[in-house]
């Protein structure tokens, strides 16, 4: 098409705007390592590397196991209460990893809820110290598996009915169908989800710090705060980014070059299989395990903290904080998804193949610790502020520091991956035939986008919106650094109390966070089933 070069420019411009923190970051790297670099290398590099690998492999495996199996049961079989389970499986995502860490110590740690329960029923129940790397794998997996579940479920439930019928006609067993057809077709989506899990693992700070585990991210904070060597912290962040890119490449390699495009999503709703006997019990176990350990027990623990310390004043205060959190998260989600759509389609419409690869670079922001993004934006913003004040005498410091725009920009930078991967995965499955057909019939890019591509992407767009929304609600270090003076968020308040060892106070905002996300998920699911019914009928 004629206008492809314009799209190359547009893609490039967007990627550049999103690269501003990298530029600030790179200029930081050019300044050389700091004075404590050799110290860090001597005492920590091995630990950072080994611990990060254990965490990524451990959490990646466990999250896939929990997420894929639950998604398969939910989308393939008819279970009583299926719709409710399907939603509950998203909700562990609403519990920030560091809160999950505190929760598990509260549940099974010394003098924890298990002990109390034991005293109550008169049995000596075991309690123990889970504050080690395996405990961390457990805690992170339970809090992060919904990323894989969401991706896998979206893919499983959209598999073409014709394929299933063909497979059944040809005598394929259930197992064969899962491993040879459903799983490979879901692979791009699952890998997208897995990538998010890995980035979250690399980015975790609160849980690792609490458990006393040295990771790249805790090392960045140690270098910056305890050793007062910001320069080396920037270098560690650079290493972390390199590590994240390596992980991304490895995982993308696993996805392979095969394309699974299919335009035959139609064929009517897939009939789910009814289960009986042992298989029904097994299905319930698969769905129930992550719900019990990732959601129900944690919520019980939060209530155990909230109830004895409850007072109405802090309840009303938390309602107000909830409103502010929702506002900020909604803005961030809309902006991020809009950016992801622009990036995806601009690069698709451009003709240069190297530019087609650029968007995946823009998504690495997910692996950079929030605190580093904050610092990069501050130091970058400083040039801007100084320039304005020297050249024009404008004092725009207030706008740059502690303003909503910079916080929103930071969220977009940080969470682009969350929005981009699910949309990209669906777009890959959709293929390009429909759009090409539309062009042949004289449609231009925009009305093809509006009338054909976006409607097909709609479930993925909603999923992306919800995921970014939840992530923003949970986000901590960026919000701490960049937040406007008069805005509080639930995650922030919860963390501040938890860090001060006041779990009874941290629990209420945490519980509100879970409730808000839960309520939204139910509304979303209700809307989805309602609108699909309306379409069918």
């Amino acid at each position: 098409m004629r206008d492809t070069s314009a799209w190359s420019v547009a893609t490039l411009a967007l990627v550049l705007i999103l690269a501003l923190p990298y530029i600030a970051f790179t200029s930081g790297l050019l300044a050389g390592t700091g004075h404590k670099w050799s110290h860090l290398m001597t005492y920590f590099l091995n630990k950072f590397f080994i611990n990060s690998v254990i965490l990524i492999v451990g959490v990646g495996f466990l999250a896939c196991l929990l997420g894929i199996s639950a998604a398969w049961v939910i989308s393939r079989y008819e279970l009583p209460g299926r719709k409710v389970w399907a939603i509950l499986l998203y909700l562990p995502l609403a519990i920030p990893t560091y809160i999950m860490a505190y929760i598990y110590v509260g549940l099974v740690g010394y003098g924890g809820t298990t002990t109390k329960l034991g005293q109550w029923i008169g049995v000596d129940l075991p309690s123990g110290n889970i504050m080690n790397i395996y405990g961390l794998v457990w805690v992170l997996s339970l809090s992060l598996f919904p990323y894989v579940y969401a991706a896998a479920r979206a893919s499983f439930s959209k598999r073409p009915a014709a394929l299933l019928e063909t497979a059944t006609l040809l005598g394929a067993s259930e197992r064969k169908y899962f491993f040879s057809i459903a799983l490979p077709m879901a692979k791009p989506a699952i890998i997208g989800g897995l990538l998010l899990v890995c980035m979250e693992v690399l980015n975790d700070y609160g849980a690792a710090k609490y458990f006393g585990i040295n990771t790249f991210t805790t090392g960045i904070f140690r270098s910056w705060t305890a050793l007062k060597d910001l320069q080396s912290a920037v270098y560690l962040a650079g290493l972390l980014i390199a590590f994240a890119i390596l992980v991304t490449l490895l995982i993308r390699l696993a996805r392979g070059r095969k394309s699974y495009a299919s335009n035959s999503d139609s064929g009517g709703p897939v009939k789910r299989v009814k289960l009986e006997g042992k298989r029904k019990v097994l299905a319930f176990l698969i769905v129930g395990f992550p719900i019990i350990f990732g959601l129900i027990l944690p919520i019980i623990q939060l209530f155990m903290w909230v109830i004895p310390a409850f007072d109405y004043a802090s309840f009303y205060e938390n309602i107000w904080i909830t409103a502010q959190s929702l506002f900020v998260a909604a803005m961030a989600a809309i902006l991020t998804v809009a950016t992801a759509i622009a990036l995806l389609f601009f690069s698709k419409w451009n003709a240069l193949s190297f530019i087609k690869r650029l968007p995946s670079i823009s998504t690495v922001g997910y692996a950079i610790p929030g605190a580093m993004i904050g610092i990069a934006l501050f130091s970058g913003g400083r040039y801007f502020v100084d320039f304005a004040s020297e050249q024009f005498g404008w004092r725009i410091g207030y706008l740059v520091y502690g303003g909503l725009p910079i916080l929103l920009y930071a969220y977009v930078f940080r969470f682009l991956a969350v929005a981009y991967y699910p949309i990209e995965a669906t777009s890959l499955r959709m293929g390009n035939q429909l759009a090409e057909a539309s062009y042949t019939l004289g449609g231009n890019r925009f009305n093809t986008l509006r009338k054909i591509e976006l409607p097909i992407l709609k479930p993925a767009l909603w999923a992306a919106l919800i995921l970014v929304f939840i992530d923003t609600l949970k986000e901590l270090p960026l919000t701490l650094i960049l937040k406007p003076y008069d805005i509080d968020t639930l995650a922030m308040v919860a963390y501040n109390y938890a860090d001060e060892e006041q779990m009874t106070k941290a629990a209420l905002p945490a519980l509100m966070l879970v409730s808000v996300v839960g309520l939204l998920s139910f509304l979303f699911e209700w809307w989805r089933s309602y609108s699909s019914k309306a379409k069918d009928g």
Binding site: Y110, N132, K209, G212, F221, P308, A371, R395, E501, K505
Partner: protein, 337 residues
């Protein structure tokens, strides 16, 4: 026409600026409900509104650096002296010109140039299980490196600023080599890999994972008065030992406040500091938050009284900040996670 419009807009903006009420902006690392109550009382008494930005001290310092002369902050409040020294070193603070402050707060709890001042004190103490530890065998922080404590010592990780300050005080008192030897000895005696917070160490004593722990007084107060029955039980199960009473005294740290170099409302800020060190407010800190008042005239609460009087280390707290780097390096060298 356009020019008139622009002029009107400028007037409007200027008017808004002029109509600003009296205020003071505080960047604080303290996340306690009692602080908000104190700020509200201050506003009621003086009409000066207090804007509060809560975050970690390190983030706040970085924010002050970036904001430079356009910072809206008047005060920086931290939970340790080390970060205040760091802010002062980065030229982010200015002297607090107040006779009240210099006459009320003891010298060692302030910086030499009065750019920051301690508000409340916390002591780092040893708590032990009375059935498993003979208190006569306890003596000092140094004593924890003794082999009789092998596998019995609970303490959190070296990323805790409270441990960094404790190590800094050991370096200041005994020198670097002795401090390194001491740390290596304590590492040998760990009951478990350092993890969790101060409260978790006390719970681990009750559970029998170790016999004694090094924690801050104010966390013990929070444990004892916790709404969680198990926590209160853990607090009650341990006894307090004040270390180094025969020599330099127990290590203390302060939660303090500094006046920022570019404070736009310095006068209001100083008024707030003077308010916070007043006897009445200092007693509120002690009773609501189990912190020792920095103002010597303020009475300590009953909870604090029950722990007895103690001798405190007279080291000027500014030294804790100066030696913080060295402390962290020693932790890393001896493998204290």
């Amino acid at each position: 026409m356009n020019k008139i419009f622009l002029f009107a807009l400028i007037l409007l903006v200027a008017a808004c600026g002029a109509a600003d009420k009296e205020e003071v902006t505080i960047y604080t690392h303290r996340h306690y409900d009692v602080d908000q109550q104190i700020f509200d009382d201050f506003e009621e008494e003086t009409g000066i509104h207090v804007n509060v930005v809560k975050a970690g001290a390190d983030e706040l310092i970085e924010r002050l650096v970036s904001e430079g002369d356009q910072s809206p902050a008047d005060l920086l409040m931290t939970v340790d002296a080390g970060r205040l020294v760091r802010a002062a070193d980065a030229n982010l603070l200015q002297p607090i010109e107040s006779e009240t402050v210099s006459s009320t707060i003891p010298d060692k709890l302030r910086s030499a140039d009065n750019s920051w001042v301690g508000l409340t004190k916390r002591a780092r103490i040893i708590v032990y299980h009375p059935d498993r530890v003979n208190p006569e065998e306890l003596s000092s922080y140094e004593g924890l490196a003794d082999s009789i404590w092998n596998g019995r010592v609970l303490i959190r990780s070296s990323s805790s600023i409270y441990n960094q300050s404790l190590m800094a005080s050991v370096i200041a008192n005994l020198g670097e080599d002795a401090a390194r030897q001491w740390a290596a000895g304590v590492v040998e005696n760990f009951a478990r890999n350092p993890s969790g917070n101060d409260r978790d160490q006390v719970k681990a004593i009750l559970a029998g994972e170790g016999d004694l722990a090094v924690i801050n007084t104010y966390y013990l107060g929070l444990l004892l008065n916790s709404a969680d029955s198990q926590e209160a039980q853990a607090g009650e199960a341990v006894q307090i030992f004040w270390p180094n009473q025969e020599d330099r005294g127990a290590h203390i740290n302060v939660s303090g406040v500094g006046l920022t170099a570019n404070s736009p409302n310095a006068e209001n800020a100083i008024a707030l500091i003077e308010y916070m060190i007043s006897q009445e407010v200092q007693e509120l800190y002690a009773s609501a938050n189990y912190e020792y008042p920095a103002n010597p005239n303020a009475e300590v609460s009953d909870q604090l009284k029950s722990w007895g009087e103690f001798k405190e280390d007279e080291l000027p707290l500014a030294r804790l900040g100066e030696l913080n780097d060295e402390a962290v390096i020693i932790f890393d060298e001896v493998g204290w996670p």
